[in-house]
Amino acid sequence: MAVVEIKDLHKRFGSVNAVKGLSFEVEAGRVTGFLGPNGAGKSTTLRALLGLVRPSAGTATFGGRRYEELDRPSAHVGAVLEDAAFHPGRTARNHLRVLAATGEHPAGRVDEVLSIVGIADAADRRVKGYSMGMRQRLAIAAALLGDPQVLILDEPTNGLDPPGISWMRDLLRHQAASGRAVLVSSHLLAEVAQSVDDVVVISNGELRGRGTLDQVLGGDDGPATEVKVQDPERLASALEGRGHHVERTADGLLVLGATPEQVGGIAAEEQVVVLGLAPRARSLEAAFFALTGDGR
């Protein structure tokens, strides 16, 4: 059963058509990556889901209810939006205390989330002096305050260093493993590829693909093999003679549509000395670019 449901969502800002009839669902117990290039409409969609932006048409609901209709919304849904903002003169702890008071969460929860995100030591400093990564962690602490069943994060790795990014991945995986639904946006596929179960790919306000990562970005370009040999030209013409497409690279040959076993077999028949043989990792990025029509 879908925890989050976006149905035929449209949003216009004046003359800008930011979201054009988007529909998708997010399931519990899974991390769903919400992908698309800059300006695709990811933030607009998430903000519409959170009741911050009024949809021009369509609906965005949690179990059939709009965000505003949830009672104690922060106990159901936690959100981290782009460039999280805080009153610079308030300490992190007081910021969370205010949110805990609003959402009627137990006061003790403030210390719990502070230590979950690892800023407990800095909790009594004013946010003014926080680094970007610390602010991002505070925003995540705020989202976790109500121990919500749904987490929505807009580019949450902004400002995090590599250990921070890896910490974030683990956090999201952990949240999903404990049965929560996680929807996380990114314009960088590589950043989420390792941590998502499902992806929703949009471009220009429209859906371009949805399903598991493999279903959506698996593509159908078949296997490919990189091979390094002593006499590349001889092997290349042999491969081409058997109908394979061969690209000459700096290191050797890239054989499209053939597995390493096939290429190795042909090399043996031709008696060329093989120096290296490996399947080429399919380029997710290339498939992503193809899907989003972003050829940059």
Binding site: F13, R47, G51, P73, A85, F86, R90, A101
Partner: protein, 243 residues
């Protein structure tokens, strides 16, 4: 609603702004009262009543209200505030109420302080003092004005979301525009939100012959200003996309 109110009051207490402005209002008001009572020998009971209405809390709470609401845009905290409390009408209502409460508290502190100090100085010099009933009468008027101006400030902050523009605009309005209107057209000026009607509530002796509204009516006029500004701010907040 009570959770929201608690949260708003907590917000007020957790930045330095409120404490600073309370201190400033206290110091300024005390300064005026101490200097006046020390330097003037023949203060009448009416003079003392006027003096005790001259607490600075109403001006400060007006600005504080503006900062409380417009500051949500200035610091871009409006998004997280609305996420925590998505019913925007309830949010604005609570904020308005909390600054009314803060205004009353601020005015209570300042008024009691200036009354105590003023009365002490007067009686030490063997001069006129006013009775507890008169003091209580001044006190409720001060509290009512501060509460309504705190609420008004929040609504203005919701309408003019640029904090600096809203503060400067209000100061110009309160100190230049309204007094000017009062001078040219007192029949219009006495309905003004930042000095005309408040002076009516405080029953300030009229300058130059023009009369302020009777306190009860002035109170209603102030409440009406708050109502209108609230309705406009609420309509704007309801429609606005928070991006």
């Amino acid at each position: 609603m009570s959770a929201l109110l608690r949260a708003e009051l907590l917000k007020l207490r957790t930045t330095r702004t409120f404490v600073t402005l309370v201190a400033a209002a206290l110091v300024l008001s005390l300064l005026v009262v101490v200097l006046t009572t020390l330097l003037t020998d023949d203060l009448s009971e009416d003079d003392l009543r006027s003096l005790f209405t001259a607490d600075f809390s109403s001006l400060f709470i007006l600005l504080l209200g503006v900062m409380g609401m417009a500051g949500e845009w200035r610091h871009r905290t409006i998004t997280s505030t609305v996420l925590a409390a998505p019913n925007r009408l309830a949010l604005l209502a609570t904020k308005t109420l909390s600054y009314a409460v803060a205004g009353a508290v601020l005015s209570l502190v300042v008024t009691v302080a200036i009354m105590a100090v003023g009365t002490l100085i007067q009686s030490a010099g063997g001069e006129t003092t006013i009775g507890i009933a008169d003091l209580a009468d001044v006190l409720w008027r001060n509290l009512a004005v501060a509460a309504l101006l705190g609420a008004f400030g929040v609504c203005i902050g919701g309408l003019v979301r640029n904090q600096v523009a809203a503060m400067i605009g209000l100061l110009v309005f309160a100190f230049a525009l309204e007094p000017a209107i009062m001078g040219v057209a007192p029949d219009v000026g006495r309905f003004g939100p930042t000095s005309g009607a408040p002076n009516g509530v405080l029953a300030v002796e009229s300058f130059g012959g023009e009369d302020f509204l009777a306190p009860g009516i002035a109170l209603l006029v102030m409440a009406a200003w708050v109502g209108v500004a609230f309705a406009a701010a609420a309509a704007l907040l309801q429609r606005r996309d928070l991006v």
